[in-house]
């Protein structure tokens, strides 16, 4: 269809567009490839004083470890600095946040999509304002009460805080997915004798899976990527991966410590990579969910 004369692009235009794509691909991918490659080198190569090509050839790595690649950074981060503990904590936090967010969010989002009272609008507006607020502004409100109640520094507190912070976005997103499901569907189920909750549970949820999965992905990303909340609400020995990486960079920069951080960064990026690989379609539809409906 696009092959008639009128839509065919001129040669310079084509070259320009290809150029844009190639340049962008390089900008988007190169930093990751470079860091992945560099994480298997020693600090003397990755941050080379003499020549940056050392990072490619690995001269110092060969001299120091006897091979062109070394797992030293990974061993240091995962074993010596106990990054595995942070990884485990991250897993507990993200999985709990996703599960609780979705449970709360589907209930609330469904109610918001099926109600036309005035307070629905106000709840949505409040959620929009909550969504806009920087997370760090809330943190100072948590600290004192949490200290007083002695619930600071532990995982459950952080999980519930992340769920709450995530709720406004979850509500908006699930609401827009529920809006696409005709009201007739649950109403006919109720005519057949279901209560509202049974209709929700048996009729709506089964057709909602695409929306739930997409929203779950974004809850996952929020919990996994959060720094402001996890860095301030978790104690040193309960840290998740992201604040742990930040603490690798502490003021005392010992030789080799930077490579621990580089390896930890690559380790923390890998799950996200896989996530995008498998759920690209859902992520794109999630990003555009709000936009297309205006």
């Amino acid at each position: 269809m696009a092959d008639n004369i009128a839509t065919r692009r001129s040669m310079p235009l084509r070259l320009f567009l290809w150029g844009v794509v190639l340049l962008w691909l390089m900008l988007a991918a190169f930093p990751f490839l470079w860091t992945l490659w560099g994480s298997f080198k020693v600090q003397g190569d990755f941050f080379s004083r003499e020549d940056w090509t050392n990072a490619l050839t690995g001269v110092r790595t060969l001299a120091e470890t006897g091979g062109y690649f070394t797992g030293g950074g990974y061993a240091g981060a995962w074993v010596q600095e106990e990054f595995w503990r942070a990884g485990l904590n991250t897993m507990i936090v993200t999985l709990s946040v996703v599960a609780i967010s979705l449970t709360f969010g589907t209930l609330g989002g469904y109610a918001l999509s099926r109600s036309s009272f005035k307070y629905t609008f106000w709840i949505l507006m409040a959620a929009l304002i909550f969504r806009a607020m920087p997370h760090i502004t809330l943190v100072s409100g948590y600290l004192l009460p949490f200290f007083e109640l002695n619930i600071w520094g532990i995982l459950p507190t952080t999980i519930i805080v992340l769920v709450a912070i995530n709720q406004p976005f979850t509500l908006w997103m699930l609401r827009s997915f529920f809006m696409n499901i005709p009201k007739d569907l649950d109403e006919s189920a109720m005519v057949d004798g279901c209560t509202r909750f049974q209709a929700f549970r048996r009729v709506i949820i089964p057709v909602m899976w695409p929306g739930v999965i997409t929203t779950g992905l974004f809850s996952f990303l929020l919990a996994y990527n959060d720094f402001a909340v996890t860095a301030t609400l978790l104690s040193q020995d309960n840290q998740t991966m992201i604040p742990k990486i930040a603490s690798f960079l502490g003021t005392t920069q010992q030789e080799g410590n930077v490579m621990f951080a580089v390896s930890a960064v690559v380790s923390a990026t890998a799950p996200l990579f896989i996530l995008v690989l498998f759920f690209q379609r859902q992520i794109v539809s999630g990003l555009t969910a709000g936009a297309v409906k205006g």
Binding site: T137, S140, L144
Partner: protein
Amino acid sequence: MKHRTFFWFMLPSGIAMLLFIALPIVSVFVQSLFVENEKVLVEVVTSGPFGTTTQVVVDEAATAVLNAANPLGQFNGFGTYANRNHLAFAEVAEFWRSSDSLGAFARQVYGLPFYKALTFTLAYTFIVTPLIIALGFLIAVAVNALPRLLKGPVIFTSLLPMIITPLVGSLILFWMIDSRGVIGKTLQFIFEDPDLSLKASPMLTWITLMVYGVWSSAPFAFVVFYAGLQTVPQDTLESAMIDGATRWQRIRFVVLPYLMPLVTFIALIQLMDNFRVFEPIVGFNAEANATSLSWIIYNDLRGSEVALFGSAAATSMLTILGVAILLTPVLIRTWRDFSAKGH
């Protein structure tokens, strides 16, 4: 749906937001009215071989008792808001009287921590947001012209900078622009200046942070525009073509107007997200040259031995006020739309 049913469905979500968003805002406001207890000082007289000396030291035990009695600290009213680290009314007034030109006045005000952070936050928000939209649109148009087979891998690669944790993303770039890293070295080579460092001057630090901001958020604009381009009405385009519109005219008069709502949507989301810029400053270790409102709150809470709750809370309230001002046009428009629908 009945009120009762609505209430029960909304309950878990509502309680979570009430307890952990609405109440903390109240708590932040209350805290902002207090300052930390003063340390209890005692004079200790020590007599040694060279006579007696009097030292003033902190009485830790008495300070702890005082802190336990008043966990919030002393009531200070709006004093924290007005002090040097926040709105600094006295200093600003003083600068206004003493400086002879507007430029000198602005420079002096910029020296105050709150205004410095505010300047960077606003500059970042209003420079990065349009660039994200422009770059995102350009990439979307270019990718749209690609053969179908290539689109999947291109979208996959494009999503990476956005999906990555901001702290991690900025660290990755930070290591590359290090004067010993690959980009830092290359820049030194290009400009033939072995001492060139992107961390040295405020200007270069700002540019670096903004480049990072565009890099990490352009994919979002790209994806939204790309999805929008798929739904541009083909018959309108065809009729424009029949009327003899050039390629540029078709983009200008058909595609752009059609995508306008998406521009508003992206701008709104990006304004909110860029206003809270925080992690890149930590990742790039840029606090010497660029601080943001979020960063000073974090620094008050974690930067020193004693957390400055009152100060952090006052900055938080001012930040929330900033967000509210930023959102007002949107809220007014949504309210009008809602009223127009006749509710």
